[in-house]
Symmetry: none
Subunit: 193 residues, 4 copies
């Protein structure tokens, strides 16, 4: 786990806020400095480049998201209930953290993404998710789909819906969410009747 000083934290925070407002390329080092009440020069004392700021911020947010995935889930739950809770956690995380959502989306659609390993897979939250899925694959309870496909069919859908909420295009009540979560998880399940 990276150590992050308070000053670095302020810089990352300023970056996230600005990217949420103006996009990744609309955000300049000068703006970050001003927002973080710092000078452009000092930014380079804490970070090597704009790239490093962006990558570290992404890694930071991925960690934060990974932790949120496991909130309120208990390992003794049946796997379907467990996954539904993770699904809901994804949705609520992004709805409750719109700036993070915008930043991550910007990141993934930028020249930054793909140039370094995605730190998502180094996160404990995701690892736990992967572990559960692989266990159930071996138990023969879920369809033998590639992991990214499963991720897309579940968390991907939750995030997509959260983005609709953020953009004000559609809001869902808790009942509907539960219903949709159940349906999407069921897509993975091997029908046994």
């Amino acid at each position: 786990m990276l150590k992050i000083t308070a000053r670095e934290q302020e810089i990352l925070q300023a970056t996230m806020d600005l990217v949420a407002e103006r996009g990744l390329l609309g955000t300049t080092i000068s703006q970050i400095a001003k927002r973080a009440k710092a000078s452009p020069g000092i930014i380079y004392h804490y970070f090597e480049s704009k790239d490093e700021i962006v990558h570290k911020l992404y890694a930071h947010l991925i960690n934060s998201f990974g932790d949120a995935l496991l909130a309120n889930v208990e390992s003794e739950q049946p796997w379907e209930d467990w996954l539904i809770q993770v699904w809901l956690n994804s949705y609520h995380y992004f709805v409750g953290h719109p700036k993070q959502a915008v930043f991550m989306e910007q990141y993934k659609n930028s020249a930054y993404h793909g140039r370094v390993d995605d730190p998502m897979y180094a996160n404990t939250g995701f690892q736990t998710l992967i572990d559960v899925i692989e266990r159930e694959l071996q138990n023969g309870t879920i369809k033998p789909l590639p992991l990214p496909v499963m991720y897309q069919l579940t968390i991907g859908t939750a995030i997509g819906l959260a983005k609709l909420h953020i953009e004000g295009e559609a809001t869902l009540d808790e009942q509907m969410l539960q219903d949709i979560a159940q349906s999407t998880i069921k897509t993975l399940k091997i029908a046994n009747d």
Copy 2:
């Protein structure tokens, strides 16, 4: 429908290729000119600005995608089969047109998007899709969800999976696709047993 000359077509094509390679902001007018075997100046004979190129290209691709949505679908089919076919069409369109997919994704996550009306809703393919959904909403066969939510749960999922394919992260055989398509459509359906 806009008339597009051969020269304009070449410029749009060059733009799409480059954006697929380097992203929207990584693509410059000079590069477009060089790729289209033209001079930077002449670009502005055909288009008013880089913005206009990008918007027109997006509108063009949306049209192309909208047309593809309705390929091989017949109006007499039961709506579930109809939608499944549209779902599969979405998937295959993006798998078969990866550059288009990358461009459209870049566009939606850029400062360009949202500054003009999304031409998606003016397209016949999408209109037909919307008509079918609204008809079934009135027939009481599908859940009363906001349209964007339905779009996300169906076409959104198809596109997400196609992107995985494009990025080489996961490939699905036709059998799996059919299965997933059926499951995602079923998410919309009101359970009647």
Copy 3:
């Protein structure tokens, strides 16, 4: 005297109109072509360059102004009355030809001016004016001032006032004009009492 074809006349007219609207450097060959219902290419059949258009237009307008100077003046008049009439002619010419006024002002404050001989001195109207002044200089009725100074003190003032009218900053009735004309001419006169 230059021969000017109808087509050339149209181009010069379009140029003057546009310069009056947008300034000398705000006027492009393309705009001139469009306004003259021609193509950019054909402009270069009639003129060597934008410079030539501008210079020829200026020469043309200077001629026109020079002719206007002598309207309604009769050689038998006393020289003061003669000059007053010329003064008024100057004023009324510019008030009645605001586009010409704007163009000539733009021209004189541009890189164009000074690079070629000012065609003003080759014009019959101005020559007559100069002749009258030099005759009176020899008659000892007017002060021995350099010609440009006399021009400035008389016609220069008239033009300056006409510009105020054109810009809507001040209008003068005929009575006032007469009065001012008389006063400015008197400035030249040697006091003989």
Copy 4:
């Protein structure tokens, strides 16, 4: 009164020099940078745009000219003598500051002028001049002419003559100047005999 740093002063100075040599539109940011021994980029650290440089320079020069108007004038003088002194000040200011004269002329005949309030009227020198004129208007000693007309008939004439001097077309000795100044001021005066 705006604070202007030494660096800003250098940039404005370079701009004025270049405009005097090549005109307003013939002067580029690169040239200004080079003349001010700076890089093009740093210009934008001090000014928002080329426009801002031009407007600020004009405002600065107007102030300087306004101050010069009142040099050596004493409020106890009869108004005619007072105005004659102001007239001579105008003339000598422009003769002694030819670059300023060229710049201001360029400015007034450009697209820059008229887009912002003319700072001339916010200057104490001009205000004092206007005050004196309005006072005498009420005293009934000068003709009821619009202010711009009076300005043209007096200061406008002085500036016009100064320009002749700058362009090397005509020089006037102090005696002639006094004489001309007296005559032009007399044009304003109501004849009382």
